[in-house]
Symmetry: C2
Subunit: 171 residues, 2 copies
DNA sequence: GGTCTATCTGTACAAGGTGCCCAGAAACTT
DNA sequence: AAGTTTCTGGGCACCTTGTACAGATAGACC
């Protein structure tokens, strides 16, 4: 388990230019195409890369308002609340947590006024005792993974890039 | 602005099977290849599709613990705090918000013990007055966009799919 | 030191996809 | 009714992918 430096560079490269193919990636990394192909397959089968889904901006499809809601729920209502929230399209993500609340969810809405409607729909459910909402104003650090990948690849089992560009079948 | 039904279906298709190409997508959607190509370009230039970055699972690279931290910061320290948090790889995302706290960030760590180290690093900064952390236990609804896309495409300006499979150059 | 195993390299080939172009038809707007 | 936008279907040159193989290399083991 874990990723080495080549894996890290490959992930960085894909994060920077997701549309490049295996061949182009191998050229950039200075390794053989087969190597990149094998690494990619391994990363996907290990679950490191979950997929290459399109990164859709909610703001661009009419939902410019984002908010986080902390929910407190009635004992034993967990499963019901989850199902309820799962059925609301504006709930982009839901976590159960320790701490003051019991759940934390990310919401989007068409406007501040519309956010009221979304919140009403979210909390308008028997199992939910209380909710407190924080509206997002700015997003100084958008969801990112590269710095973490770099840290993960640079430490631990990172036996360095496979082969320091040595040449093989050379006379 | 906005997306129509074909855009919606295209986004759904890409979310389901991100590795399919333009040609295959056009076959699935029953439209011409050029149409899919044009739609994709438009969606990207409009910012609806930000990219196709690899979806990396932090847990799979050694960071199985996720937490959300609400931060309260000293007046006027905003920019400094942002820069500080931006330099911490374990900070995956940062928002400034209304409400009780001033900022909300998503953290990951190698373990619960390691989370303490991360939090110390995050809050060990002059501008931060107080922090409260919620550790994520479960993630019943992982970050998703399809339901929202479906809603956005199904309403408003959705003049229906371009052409009800009519045939053209047919005798 | 010698051997084994896992991995990488370089190469080849067939199959198929991509980017780009075009003229004509269809649908929506004015 | 005319004009504009968009979709269709076709073609072409070029490139990438998937797959396979033998030989080279590095690290682990005996």
């Amino acid at each position: 388990m874990g990723i080495d430096r080549l894996d890290g560079k490959l992930l960085e490269l894909l994060a920077d230019e997701p549309r490049i193919g295996v061949l182009e990636a191998s050229r950039r990394l200075g390794v053989a195409r087969g190597t990149v192909q094998a690494r990619l397959e391994r990363l996907q089968s290990q679950g490191v890369i979950r997929g290459f889904g399109p990164d859709v901006d909610p703001a661009a499809i009419g939902y410019p308002v984002t908010a986080f809601a902390t929910l407190e729920i009635k004992q034993g209502q967990g499963p019901d609340v989850r199902a309820h929230l799962g059925s609301v399209p504006e709930v982009l993500e839901l976590h159960t947590t320790t701490g003051h609340g019991d759940m934390l969810c990310r919401l989007v809405a068409r406007s501040n006024a519309d956010l009221q409607r979304v919140i009403d729909r979210v909390v308008g459910f028997a199992g939910i005792v209380r909710a407190s909402t924080a509206i997002v104003m700015e997003n100084p650090v958008p969801l990112r993974i590269v710095p973490l990948v770099r840290q993960a690849a640079g430490s631990a089992d990172a036996p360095d890039v496979p082969g320091p560009p040595s040449r093989h079948g050379t006379p």
